[in-house]
Symmetry: C2
Subunit: 217 residues, 2 copies
């Protein structure tokens, strides 16, 4: 006997926060932080202006919640995947990039990363949080893998941090790109980003690998 009233509104305390955050994610990614109005978020979530304030302090608070919700979990999944893997480091890196693309790069999450970078200066504490929880964690993971590859003789000796930078750069660039100028281009003008990432990785790995022993293959 709970549902059949065509009343002008519904009480759904338990699901409201999630609905609001979903709507906010969508709009933030599409328009940026400042440009999305609270009323838009509310309407998109099927409620009115005031309702979000029942669940969140203010707009910033919603932004923070959205970021925590959508990015941190994804990243820790990636670490677990890496921890489980057996086999050579190159193929693990390729796998990681593939999964990263599927789970983050090609999703709204990427737009959020880009937004985070765009707004970092305006939200110092959130930026710090994100840096600690997401970026540093990811970098450490990759750095460890590179060291492992070097220890095994799979990779030649290179400065580890710089190699991490080089490997990360295509990911960052693709996220930023797709959600800035990428939106402007005609469809097809910039084909299949996932393949491009793969090629970039190949190129970098080729530069990273110890090619002295590769002749015997």
């Amino acid at each position: 006997m709970t549902a059949k009233l065509p009343s002008r509104w519904q009480r759904k305390k338990d699901v409201r926060p999630g609905e609001i955050l979903d709507a906010a994610l969508e709009l933030f990614v599409e328009k940026g932080f400042r440009a999305t109005k609270m009323e838009d978020i509310a309407r998109a979530a099927g409620v009115t202006k005031g309702t979000p304030y029942l669940y969140f302090q203010n707009k910033e608070d919603i932004f923070k919640a959205v970021v925590r919700e959508s990015l941190v979990n994804e990243l820790s999944d990636l670490s677990q995947l890496a921890a489980r893997h057996e086999g050579d480091v190159s193929s693990l890196l390729a796998l990681l990039m593939e999964v990263w693309w599927a789970r983050i790069g090609s999703t709204r999450g990427a737009g959020l990363c880009k937004l985070m970078m765009a707004e970092a200066a305006n939200f110092p504490e959130l930026a710090t949080f994100y840096y600690q929880e997401v970026i540093l964690r990811g970098r450490t993971m990759v750095a460890d893998l590179i060291r492992l590859g070097m220890a095994r003789g799979e990779f030649r000796a290179v400065p580890v941090e710089s190699a991490v930078d080089t490997l990360m750069a295509p990911l960052i660039a693709s996220m930023v790109w797709d959600h800035s100028f990428g939106c402007i281009l005609q469809a097809g003008e910039d084909a299949d980003p996932s393949r491009r990432l793969a090629v970039a990785l190949d190129l970098i790995l080729y530069g990273l690998k110890n090619n002295n022993t590769s002749e015997e293959n």
Copy 2:
């Protein structure tokens, strides 16, 4: 007999626009577009709220002027440099990156590029303009160089566009990084970005070069 009055304002029609754009560049890079107030720009330029409107339509107009003013010229200088160079392609690419860093990457210009990416969705026409005038031009230049390297046997055969992406990615990443999370970090936590760029380039070039003949060296 023009200057000695301690009057509360000065008439300087010819230099005002430049002063205003300088102030705006500084503030936009520091705070982003929305967060910088017209009054801040005016004050930083040594005038009052109304004055900028004598020279520019509105805030957007100032933003556009700043972008055109500060980025396009720099980039065309780079093309000229490339056109003049003789010698192998690898060293030209290294040189270009070095000059890029000195003239753009390490200057306010980088902050502006980052801002442009952050705001591209809000300024479609400006983004398109920038894409045509700056990005496309730069990419074409690099693509031509890579093709040249391949034709000479200096580089192995790789998909050109992807190689361009890979070479550009560290530049984009460094601009974005330095003006987002980079601001947050303690000094020294992320050492010398120019050296990092150089290492990244080495790594990528190593992956790009045709190593079959390098044994004879």
